[in-house]
């Protein structure tokens, strides 16, 4: 019976360790979804260190091509953020387009994006399809 008790204790220990690892890995890989004003406010307050998705519209006239991608501004009407994107933006990326940029803040408070998702309407989503996000062909280093 003693062997059984030790076995049960070992199983519990393994389970506890596994759950802790699970929690840590999960919390490290959560990508928060923020509007531009929420993200800017959070950044001003000293937060926003992790990876996040920034939702807004591309400010007309702000798009410039860089050697490695594009630079533009996104806004949600209240706040505006500078974005540098590595890689070519997807085909539907244009002035005024609603976009979600995934990346993190650089030290100079420019948002370094490596993935641009074009937002879609609330059309039906077929099985096995993310909301068309993958269709953007832009998953470079996500």
């Amino acid at each position: 019976m003693k062997g059984r008790a030790i076995g049960a204790a070992a199983v519990c220990a393994v389970a506890v360790v596994a759950i802790v690892v699970l929690g840590v890995v999960l919390s490290k890989n959560v990508v928060y979804f923020r509007t531009v004003s929420e993200a800017v406010e959070e950044r001003a307050g000293g937060g926003g260190d992790g990876r996040l998705r920034l939702a807004g519209e591309v400010v007309p006239g702000s798009i410039t091509e860089t050697a490695r991608g594009v630079r533009f501004e996104v806004t949600d009407g209240e706040a505006t953020a500078d974005v540098i994107h590595r890689g070519d933006p997807p085909d539907l990326f244009k002035e005024g387009a609603p976009v979600v940029c995934e990346g993190r803040w650089s030290e100079s408070d420019v948002f370094a994006s490596d993935r641009i998702l074009i937002k879609h309407g609330s059309e039906y989503e077929p099985p096995d399809v993310d909301s068309g996000e993958k269709a953007s062909g832009d998953k470079a280093s996500a």
């Binding site: 990508v31 085909d91 099985p127 269709a135 953007s136 062909g137």
Partner: protein, 665 residues
């Protein structure tokens, strides 16, 4: 007219389900055999009604009857014939109809198979449970998910199916396969509930549902891999799996279902794990309902959107009822479920199966947590977030490798206990083969531990399987190996498929090269030995679709591999462009071309070039898994395996006993 026919069929189906449940319930209560025999006949009415409703919908689609809202939303006059037919499963309401049709089919097969045992309470309860599930889906269709809802203003043309759904013929096969898998788990679920209610949770219900479970599992496997293939060929982001909630929804029941078909063998053989098996079947069924809920209620986009229709709450409610009934029944029967046997040695077949099951359950939990965490965070804390792919990759890789190890070693372990001598004889050569391959992989440049382990364990597993075939061939002759025990050798063939899939995943996930090149007409770029030259582009309209495609020549070391045409299509009913990748497929590697952006004002295009190794083996592995499942379904020449208690001690067992032991499947 078509709408009226459809609604009539749905009403008939609903009534037949209600009458069937009532007749069977009454018959079980009174022990009236005549009622039980009558009750089972309603199953065929349910099937006929579902088939009639589906036929009415196909008729409406083919005749472009836009007075039906579903047709107007998912069909247009210009929609090609194939995608008009597949319109049945292009959206929610039609999918539920397909679901009901498939369920009717499974229930009718079940009723026919057990026609001699119609008065057996186990079969009667299982039929009743199946009819109750069917009733839920019929009520769903008569209520919030009515596929035959009509429009007061009939439009002159419909919107057409979602662009992504009319871009590739695979769409004709992937969803029905997935449904055949999903819905098939209703059969073992019904029998599990029946076993709990009647108290006959010995091995009988497992034997009764073995084939149905395998059929469902085989279809689900094929459906998942076809989905991955579709994602690779159509979505154009270069991969086949993105840990997307919808993909995860199909994977979850597969994980618990796979655990189940392994643990069943332990119960058959040793009478253990009864509660566990019942729980796994009920969990698998719950996960299919959860999957339907996740994919069909819009909850993935936003927690707050799913209450806009009654479908989400109804599916969630049904899930709650199923889970409560299952857990309640297990708790009620708990005292009688105690297993007669117990594990004697940690190095035995049953321990390996137990470890396999714990790992599959852990894997399912990891995937489930990552999938529902964003929903919970939004519902409970109003925080919008998503769980990144690294979470899934990091958590599932070690579990997957551990499973691969078990798959390599476990089929060689004897039941109950073993000796070092047996292990040496059975595992020495395979283990050295695996070690040799690991060394070779490192020498050839593999550096990541996960990859090296995967390749080594794959070789270990293949060598072990080859050895088992050789043992079988010695005993039965080469021609009769498989037929001597289809369940064993079918299972081993499935394992070969798993090995191929694992190797393909391991190599494609770390040895892919992906670049985006900007080219003007006539310019070339070289990516990992392949020279791509942009020739020209053109624009074409067909039906509703406008396509811009780029002609790209692919060469390798002076060999012309042909001209490929990645494209972007736009549809009037969608603001987004749909990329169509163009793939040069090879046994060793694929060259995967996408048109990232169409020609700009200076005539420059951006082309995505990815070189993905061994992807083809993913699909071949899927085919091998399907083949193995078919073999395992074949009738055996041997007498069905019966549990022998007690099994003779290790030393006394015959030499060739090993190859009679069933392997998973």
């Amino acid at each position: 007219m078509r709408a009226a026919l459809g609604v009539l069929a749905l009403a008939v189906g609903t009534s037949a389900a209600v009458l069937g449940i009532a007749t069977l319930g009454l018959g079980l209560r009174r022990g009236d055999e005549r009622l039980l025999r009558n009750g089972r006949r309603y199953v065929f009415v349910v099937l006929a009604a579902a088939a009639l409703a589906a036929a009415a919908m196909e008729w409406a689609l083919l005749t472009h009857d836009f007075s039906i809202e579903y047709v107007a939303e998912n069909n247009a006059r210009a929609t090609p014939l194939l995608f008009t037919i597949t319109g049945l499963w292009a959206a929610l309401e039609g999918s539920i109809l397909l679901w009901a049709l498939v369920l009717g089919g499974y229930l009718a097969f079940m009723a026919r198979r057990f026609r001699e045992r119609a008065t057996d309470p186990l079969v009667a309860w299982a039929t009743l449970t199946g009819l109750a599930v069917a009733l839920f889906f019929f009520v769903l269709m008569l209520g919030p998910a009515n596929p035959f809802k009509t429009l007061a203003d009939v439009p002159s043309d419909g919107a057409g199916p979602n662009p992504l759904l009319q871009n590739h013929p695979l769409m004709a096969f992937h969803p029905p396969m997935l449904y055949l898998g999903y819905v098939g788990f209703t059969v073992p679920f019904s029998f599990a509930i029946a076993a709990l209610v009647t108290g006959r949770f010995g091995e009988g219900w497992l034997a009764d549902t073995r084939r149905a479970t395998l059929v469902a599992w085989g279809f689900l496997t094929a459906g998942i891999l076809l989905g991955a293939w579709w994602s690779y060929e159509v979505l154009g982001w270069g991969g086949y799996w993105a840990w997307d909630p919808v993909e995860n929804a199909s994977l979850l029941p597969w994980l618990t279902g796979t655990a189940f078909i392994h643990s069943v063998i332990v119960q058959e053989r040793r009478g253990m794990l009864r509660v566990w098996n019942l729980s796994l079947v009920i969990a698998t069924f719950c996960l299919t309902i959860l999957g339907t809920f996740l994919t069909r209620s819009g909850v993935v986009d936003s927690v707050h959107s799913f209450t806009q229709s009654a479908i989400g709450p109804m599916l969630l409610g049904f899930l709650g009822i199923v889970a409560a009934v299952g857990i309640g029944l297990i708790a009620w029967r708990g005292d009688r479920l105690r297993a007669p046997g117990r594990i004697d040695s940690p190095v035995s077949r049953e321990s390996a199966f137990l470890a396999n099951n714990l790992l599959f359950a852990a894997l399912a939990f990891v995937v489930l947590l990552g999938t529902v965490y964003p929903l919970l965070a939004e519902a409970l804390q109003d925080r919008r977030l998503s769980v990144g792919e690294p979470y899934f990759d990091r958590m599932t890789t070690p579990i997957g490798i551990a499973l691969l190890f078990l798959m390599a070693a476990a089929p060689a372990l004897p039941w109950r206990a073993t000796t070092g001598e047996v292990l040496r004889r059975r595992l020495l050569v395979p283990a050295w083969t695996g070690a040799g391959v690991m060394v070779a992989a490192v020498v050839l440049g593999a550096r990541e531990l996960a990859q090296v382990l995967t390749f080594g364990l794959a070789a270990f597993a293949l060598a072990g399987i080859a050895r088992q075939f050789a043992v079988g061939a010695r005993a039965h002759g080469v021609a009769r190996v498989v037929r001597s025990n289809p369940r064993l050798y079918g299972g081993l063939v499935v394992h070969v498929g798993v090995v191929l899939v694992a190797v393909a995943i391991a190599s494609s996930s770390s040895y892919s090269t992906k670049r985006e090149v900007r080219l003007r007409s006539g310019e070339s770029a070289t990516v990992r030995g392949y020279t791509v030259t942009y020739l020209d582009s053109d624009r074409e309209r067909s039906g509703q679709k406008t396509t811009v495609s780029a002609q790209v020549r692919v060469e390798r070391g002076g060999d012309d591999l042909g001209v490929y045409a990645p494209a972007i299509s736009t549809f009037p009913n969608s603001t987004s462009g749909i990329g169509t990748p163009s793939v040069h497929t090879g046994l060793r590697e694929d060259v995967y071309l996408t048109l990232v952006s169409s020609p700009n004002e200076r005539g420059r295009v951006t082309i995505g070039v990815a070189v993905n190794p061994l992807i083809l083996w993913l699909w071949i592995g899927g085919g091998v898994m399907a083949l193995g499942t078919l073999i395992a379904l074949a009738p055996s020449l041997q007498r069905p395996f019966r549990r022998r208690e007690p099994t003779p001690a290790v030393g006394l067992r015959r030499q060739n006993d090993e190859e009679r032991e069933p392997v998973p499947v």
